[in-house]
């Protein structure tokens, strides 16, 4: 499902060249529940952005859902993000002026193919399932952090993606709420078979996933 070959990402910061990711080769299969563990500045987020097609590798090849990404145009990449990838961010990244329901429905507005289900109904079902059905008409700033993250998960799921990428999903939450969010992700992986990759710096979070990938100074390491 995900195949990275000798992927590097360099950028220049002032006069210094920073190697955020260097020569990473990695394969993740469909249905996996994996974590990418690393300290701040280890390049783990950059790696996730490359996998999530938010950023482009400087060199190496990225194959996602059996497609070589290098050859795709920007709008094709956008469509892959829209249809196949759901993002969950540390800071939720909901749009404040839209209600929870509108946020969840936002990806469907950008769908380039006709969807074969009732999006409104699916959004409501997702919110119910995730436990915030009663918050559908609230604006993000009127609900708790845990509820916002749940809304973000519902948004990530609305298009029935094959892959969910979660960047420090529990980073802004207390331990108990964080655990609930991880329970939820685990459940989604078990029940729906969605591939989930969690990026984290917390060993405890990584330990809950079925596979741990360690990254240090932009390189994969065997053990942390």
């Amino acid at each position: 499902m995900i195949e990275l070959k000798k992927v590097s990402k360099h950028y220049t910061l002032g006069e210094e060249e920073v190697k955020a990711v260097s020569d990473i080769s990695l394969t993740i299969k469909e249905g996996e529940y994996a974590s990418i563990l690393g300290t701040s500045g280890s390049g783990k987020s950059t790696l996730m952005h490359i996998i999530g097609l938010l950023d482009q590798a400087t060199s190496g090849s990225v194959k996602l859902f059996n497609q070589n990404i290098e050859k795709l145009k920007d709008n094709e990449i956008s469509t892959i993000r829209n249809e196949n990838i759901g993002f969950i961010f540390q800071s939720y990244n909901l749009i404040p002026k839209l209600t929870v329901m509108e946020n969840v429905l936002l990806p469907t507005i950008y769908a380039k193919h006709k969807l074969d289900y009732d999006v409104q109904k699916r959004a409501q079902e997702l919110l119910e399932r995730i436990g915030i059905g009663h918050r559908a008409d609230f604006h993000p700033n009127k609900i708790s952090g845990g509820q916002q993250q749940r809304a973000a998960i519902a948004r990530a799921l609305i298009m029935k993606p094959k892959l969910i990428l979660a960047d420090e999903p529990t980073g802004n939450l207390d331990t108990k709420t964080g655990d609930e969010i991880l329970d939820l992700l685990e459940e989604l992986n078990d029940d729906l078979g969605v591939t989930i990759i969690i990026v984290t710096h917390e060993k405890e979070v990584a330990d809950r996933t079925k596979r741990q990938i360690y990254i240090r100074d932009g390189e994969l390491v065997k053990k942390y």
Partner: protein
Amino acid sequence: MKYAISVIKNAIGEFERNRVRTFLTSLGIMIGVFSVVMLLALGIGLKNYLEQQFEDIGSNVLFVFPGQGFGGGGSFGQAFSSFANSIQFDERDYKNLKQLSTADYVVPGYITTKQIESKYEKTAGSIQGVNDEYDELFNFEILAGEFLSRSDISSRSKVGVIAETLADELFDEPDDAVGQTVEVDSNLRIKIIGLVKDIGDPEQDNSIMIPYTTTFLTINPDKTFLSIYIGVSDSSLVTQTKKDAEDILLRRYDDDQFSVIEPSEILDTVTQIFSIVNGVLIAIGSVSLIVGGIGIMNIMYASVTDRTREIGIRRSIGATKSDIMIQFMAESTILSLLGGLVGLLLAGIIVLIVRPFFPLEINLSTVLVSLGISSVIGIFFGSFPARSAANLTPIEAIRYE
């Protein structure tokens, strides 16, 4: 469809969140469209008004003017210089033109503004020196009394026919005018023998028509005419009559000293002048539209910066560059169009209020042009900020604080 609704809803949501900013931004376009529409209304209104004036006279009338004013070709400069050193018609020209076999009537034209005094009032009005056929030129409706007769002309009678507006000013009731006497410049007493209905021409409606022979006594001692009108009953004979009239006048004058003109030629010239004037007015109005457009561009750039993170989020969930572009262009276009619409409405209200006093007119093409221009401004000036929004890289946008 769902997409379009969401884009428009989104734009309106933005406006509601920033009402003051939205109002101030669209104000530029509002003022621009308002001034362009008002200027167009003025241009079209004046043009229609003048056309109406010529229609009142009818198309089968030839105008004989000194100089090479209208339709003679050449520049305004030439026209005016030839006007300045040209001849003045006199009774001999009038009598010569009267010989035209195809002419239905020939009327000499003389007009001057004088102090006119009735036993009640004193006012400035026009005195026209004409003949008994003058009423055929305008098809006057005689409200009371009668028009000048042939014998009035030949006997230099001190009688006159007054138009409604002037009669209303000089007498209690216009109908009272017939039979009364007015004094012109304190040295000519004219007995009113007829009252004619207004025709909508301010100069005509505010005048007394007296025999041209009578004007020779005191008012017009040079015994000249400003113009001569030739009526032709059969429209197929207009061109021939024109040529014959020119031949007659050529016996006395050079061909650049006078002109014989059909109303259509004057109309063509008037139309030409107004299209130039309108063009200039629109160009002036367009400056404010461009300033308004720059205002929109400025605000949209600020809005892109404000919403960088939102753009990043939208991109991350699958919005393409063109989706972002459309979102921002929709905002600038709707903003500009709304401004244009309000400007148009304001201009429409002003036109409705002023219309009874002044010829102003808004036609369909003015409406379409003003709305079209406001959309184009929104699209054009919105496209630069929209492009910069679309070209943000998703990851940089989403990290933007």
